[in-house]
Symmetry: C2
Subunit: 217 residues, 2 copies
Amino acid sequence: MEKQITPRQKQLLSILYEYIQDSGYPPTFEEMRQKLDVSSNQSIKDLLEKLKSGGFIKKGESQARGITILPLGYEALGQPSLAPFVGATSAGVPIQAVSFDGEWMEMPATHYDTKIERLKANVYVLRVYGDSMINAGINDGDHVLVQEKKEFSSGDIVLAYDGDDATIKRFMSVNEPPYLYLKPENPKYKIILFRDSISMAGKVMAVLKSRQWVPVS
Amino acid sequence: MEKQITPRQKQLLSILYEYIQDSGYPPTFEEMRQKLDVSSNQSIKDLLEKLKSGGFIKKGESQARGITILPLGYEALGQPSLAPFVGATSAGVPIQAVSFDGEWMEMPATHYDTKIERLKANVYVLRVYGDSMINAGINDGDHVLVQEKKEFSSGDIVLAYDGDDATIKRFMSVNEPPYLYLKPENPKYKIILFRDSISMAGKVMAVLKSRQWVPVS
DNA sequence: ATTGTACCTGACTAAATAGTCGGGTATAAT
DNA sequence: ATTATACCCGACTATTTAGTCAGGTACAAT
């Protein structure tokens, strides 16, 4: 039985969202009271309590402006959600294997489980360095959403390990030599033949284009 | 005579920045006092006053957690800065001409004047819709940084108006027919010959790749 | 008909938080 | 030597802000 957001709750949630967007900090009870056009703090407190128990927001007790919108809240508003950000991998030279460090990143809500701060099984985000996948639309500094998997199809873009080194490449399985290999999507780089030290951890489901200014010519 | 930031001020500024980054709201005097390891509110108030008069932060009087870091502050921290966000233009179908609506966007600090909330002469940001410039690396949903200009060189990517309609195209000037025209960077679209109703307002200096998830194949 | 839930009211209190007062030190500039 | 500036101290007050109390209405479900 899903915790459902009521229209009134959603109204307050979007007031919260907008206030934070243009002030940089959350509103007070009084400010919310005015925007919602009710005459008492209690109404605000009740609603916040509901939003909190529904997992839409986090709230510091007895704390001025201590409200944070949680992933589930953004989801209810139709905003992007979060994934654990586990580190960096490389699309060029392989680098040290990744590990979760507590950061979060926006991710497509479809990959997000409805439970608060709980992800769908084994989905995570990596930052990609290097240019070995540019022809697949993955650039230096972009992030990829990786879904853990055990079975792969030829043509899948995968997160592969060579020992402790992690890398993003296209997995290829063909009926003629070299049969099994990893293919960089950049003519500058050579294919990597499968060997015992190589394993695949997951499939790249989506790319988050990094928000960076690039000069034009 | 530039208002210079002192080491102590910068220290507080980065405490502010980090706190906001991971809480979603600014700290109280007390919290700043602890992090800065001083024993009085007055020290914090003094420093905030300096940061404020230097144009690094904005601060609501008598307001709990009412601090906002201003563009100049981000600049002092080496973070990206802001440009006025004037609206949307189209890289496909031209749309209604743009106008400033008070929003701000991150922009490369080099284009930002040192005065608070004042941009270098005539620089602004537009959101681009459509796919007519994909081969120049400008995609649907990206933002472009436009520098107002009067003189253009052949090959410049420009913001052009056809009456009230704004569009982004590559400006071409050649010695053979059709001499002067606007060229979309997508074979799907046709070139636009110059006519009296067409004028050019500025040159695209940089593209902010929009932060969007795109599925991979 | 009663129970529960979502929402509301207005007056009140408690706690958190910003700001003040009246000083101080150390350092560089005039 | 004086002045100005950047920074600090500790005790205090004023204001803002969250939270409580003791209710109420409207509506759907049992």
